[in-house]
């Protein structure tokens, strides 16, 4: 039996993703990584589980890996604001502040009302704490 043969509903996938986020916030990074990788198997075309995986690496402190994973997610869906914000976040934590800030400002400028833009704004406000000059 292959993964493709398993039938999973959208609701179940949402629950799996939320579980991944909860495990990540509980600092259970290995379990969270397993969940996101599993969802990636079910949604190979979606950037969302991949970005989720990127944030796990971000919270582990592996900023280089986080940046690479988010970059791959962006390749899947270059217009994804979710992927762009977290790519910029990985840049910010990786001490590429100028590049990150430019990306975040661009996101806010393009979609000021999006929830991702609010995250971008919050990241800009926290830039001094995350990557002080």
């Amino acid at each position: 039996m292959t993964i493709k043969e398993i039938s999973v509903s959208n609701e179940e996938l949402r629950v799996m993703l939320e579980t991944g986020y909860i495990l990540r916030e509980a600092a259970k990074f290995d379990e969270s990584e397993t969940i996101f990788r599993s969802v990636m198997e079910f949604l190979p075309e979606s950037e969302i589980p991949q970005v989720g995986l990127g944030t796990v690496f971000l919270q582990r402190g592996d900023f280089q890996a986080a940046e690479e994973i988010c970059e791959k997610a962006l390749e899947l869906n270059p217009s994804s604001l979710y992927a762009r914000v977290h790519y910029a976040e990985a840049l910010l934590f990786g001490r590429q502040r100028e590049k990150a800030e430019n990306e975040l400002r661009e996101i806010i400028g393009e979609n000021p009302d999006s929830p991702h833009s609010q995250t971008a704004q919050a990241l800009l406000e926290a830039a001094d704490l995350i990557a002080p000059n």
Partner: protein, 154 residues
């Protein structure tokens, strides 16, 4: 009724001399009398000076001898008073300088305490601001993730 003190005046008896009850007063008065040596020295000085300046010798002799109307006793008292006054002044000066020093120390302490308080207030303010920033970031990130999750389609 004849013994009533309100009607019959009380026979007043003369009071005993003060020195009987307080002999130290008499002793102090006796102490002020000039001694014999100074009397003799005053006489000799008076005679000698009368040759040089008639009249002045007598006055000086009285001063040294401490005779009646002599100013020597009062001069000594004056000197003593002056000495006491100077001593008081010295005490006052020392007390003032001590007070000033204590005041300075207190001021310095207060200044240090104020600076520490300002520093603590500043740190608390900074921490509160950092907390607000991080809290806001976590909230917006959660909203962003939930928005992404709600849009998935298999």
């Amino acid at each position: 009724m004849a013994d009533d003190t309100m009607i019959t005046p009380v026979k007043s008896e003369p009071l005993p001399p003060v020195t009987q009850n307080y002999p130290e007063i008499d002793f102090q008065q006796k102490q002020k009398e000039p001694n014999k040596f100074l009397k003799v020295l005053g006489g000799i000085g008076s005679a000698a000076l009368n040759f040089v300046a008639p009249g002045l010798g007598g006055i000086l002799g009285n001063v040294i001898g401490g005779g009646s109307g002599s100013s020597f006793g009062s001069y000594t008292a004056l000197m003593e008073q002056q000495r006491q006054f100077e001593e008081m002044q010295r005490y006052n000066q020392i007390s003032s300088s001590l007070q000033a020093r204590q005041q300075n120390q207190m001021m310095n302490q207060q200044q240090q305490n104020s600076m520490q308080l300002i520093s603590v207030q500043h740190r608390v303010g900074m921490q509160a601001q950092e907390f607000t920033t991080v809290s806001n970031l976590m909230k917006t990130r959660h909203d962003s993730e939930m928005s992404a999750v709600n849009n998935i389609k298999s």
